[in-house]
Symmetry: C2
Subunit: 277 residues, 2 copies
DNA sequence: CCATCTTTGTGCACACGTTCACAAACGCAT
DNA sequence: ATGCGTTTGTGAACGTGTGCACAAAGATGG
């Protein structure tokens, strides 16, 4: 089942993944226009509203079909419908949220959640002290009920907001129950069988990416290359690098210092790691 | 300032953006190994732990330098240090969170936040009934204090968790105060001056992408192409498409029905849009 | 019906990202 | 030392994504 030609996940029905990821953005902008009763919009205007370049937007739409009119633009209502249909938003998607702690509560209360076809079918938790309480008007049910809920309500999307340690186990259980799409908020790499999609939302990763660029900005104008940060050894070819590597391993693991003969190595300005976790 | 050769954002110091985005993933896996006192790890093992393919991991690391030892693998502690340094995590990054509602509270309480060099410098809100309360042991301060806090604590990263309507305004104010990196949770396209980085976390978009693939899975085995879903007109070339477009515009905007002459158009199985927002 | 103006849809070139596959480097045993 | 098994680091091929630039389509006005 589900033979894919060669790549890992070839584009489905010709719509590139990058385009799919932008469709919700366009849809949001179009919905805003629709609410203002704007009848048509040009690719230039819509692109500006969605924060992309207009050529990209036109190419994205071209994968859906030719829905524009040259010299005029796109019909807002019609595009809203076409994109909604393409994304599968003309139907209702029941979701379960597992792990009703800080984040689970926030998600349960999130209005924008239900606004576009996603309906919270159930809130689930393993902790008996949490089960029975309610969030956003919905009761928190016990994990034991998961299978019955997924089956009876035809839930195919699950959201995981448990601590990282429980995420894989919860994921397995969701998949076993029949869920085939998972949105994971726990900082864990989930392993799933073929045919199940996982997407993650990871605050920590986003912040670290920002920090990387931030650091870059800071160390830009000053004299190039802050000194002492990188050993010259590491870019050097030949046996010098090998000696440096040996040094590192010995220092890092703090054992077998005996057979380090320092060979040609002199400069040792490296800090021995063990950084703040 | 900040001249980039030709592209929008050429790779900084040779590290591709895609690689930067994976470094936090590697770091997380390495930290776990470090806690188990594993001294060295092969690219194959580490790649499995991080959920990527080993060739990609090796190439990623090659951008940082040659930190491995052939026949052995990578020294865990040393790599943790190198990646931390590359991401700028050897220094402390104070952040402000603006908009302490459901989500802001959850973030403030999030432990994994502070664990890697990110310190919550302040919680801010505009609502007088929220200001003065406390979340996760920190007091919620009024927006008026933003500029003073950013300056005195050298905050360069801001997190926006306000309603969408306030996001751009809050963003402008953060930038004006000196913040140069923004993590946005509001479903809004933020406009910022050059030199400011914005990353977004958008639950709604993630769910919609999942729905797209979910729909694909559902409509896969059944006889190809669910009928009645797409008008044959829209893939047709020539004047037929034009007539269809005219029909759509007229139907969508509900005006100027007079000059639709139906020309060659017969089949009109399309629903006239106006979908659930 | 023609001229003119606007805006789409897309071919093309290039940049970026991924994966393969293998030589070179290294540890270790003999 | 030498040989053997292991694993890195990277060149090269391939796939995906982006953006330019323009012909063709359609609107509009005379
Ligand atoms: N709070 C945030 O802002 C934030 C930000 C980023 C990531 N995260 C991640 O999101 C997850 C949840 O964060 P949180 O702050 O809400 O944590 P939390 O501890 O407040 O809530 C976790 C909930 O999961 C439940 N749970 C534990 N094991 C379970 C199991 N096996 N089955 C079902 N439920 C189980 C607990 O009873 C608890 O109610 C964590 O993985 C965290 O790292 C949180
Ligand atoms: N709650 C979620 O799970 C969730 C999920 C995805 C996205 N979001 C988005 O995150 C944002 C916050 O969601 P929430 O549920 O926490 O909303 P919320 O209404 O609970 O909280 C918003 C907070 O922002 C404050 N605020 C409003 N205007 C402000 C301004 N100009 N300056 C400073 N503070 C201001 C309000 O006083 C309030 O405390 C929203 O944009 C929402 O769409 C939330």
């Amino acid at each position: 089942m589900r033979r894919t030609p060669v790549g890992r996940q070839t584009r489905a029905r010709g719509i590139p993944e990058a385009t799919v990821a932008r469709l919700p953005l366009y849809l949001r902008a179009l919905t805003a226009l629709s609410e203002r009763s704007v009848p048509t919009v040009s690719s230039e205007e819509l692109a500006a509203a969605a924060g992309v370049n207009s050529a990209k937007l036109r190419k994205d739409f071209s994968y859906l079909g030719s829905y524009g009119t040259r010299g005029v633009g796109y019909d807002v209502e019609y595009l809203v419908y076409q994109i909604s249909r393409e994304l599968g938003l003309t139907q209702d998607w029941p979701v379960v949220i597992v792990g009703i702690g800080n984040l689970g509560h926030a998600l349960a209360n999130y209005g924008g959640f239900a606004s576009r076809g996603f309906r919270v079918a159930a809130l689930l938790d393993a902790d008996p002290t949490v089960v029975g309480s309610s969030a956003a008007g919905l009761p928190v049910r016990h994990m034991d009920e998961l299978e019955a809920i997924v089956e009876s309500q035809h839930v195919s999307i699950g959201v995981i907001t448990t601590p990282p340690g429980a995420a894989q186990q919860v994921c397995d259980r969701l998949v076993e129950a029949g869920v085939t799409s998972i949105l994971n908020f726990a900082p864990t790499v989930l392993t799933v069988p073929d045919g199940v999609d996982v997407r993650k939302v990871d605050l920590s990763i986003e912040l670290q990416i920002l920090a990387f660029h931030e650091q870059r900005k800071a160390g830009e104008e000053p004299d190039q290359g802050r000194s002492g940060e990188e050993s010259v050894l590491d870019r050097a070819p030949g046996p010098v690098r090998a000696a440096a590597a040996k040094l590192r391993r010995a220092a890092g693991a703090a054992k077998d210092i005996k057979d380090i003969k320092a060979e040609k190595v002199e400069n040792d300005s490296e800090r021995p790691a063990v950084m703040p976790a």
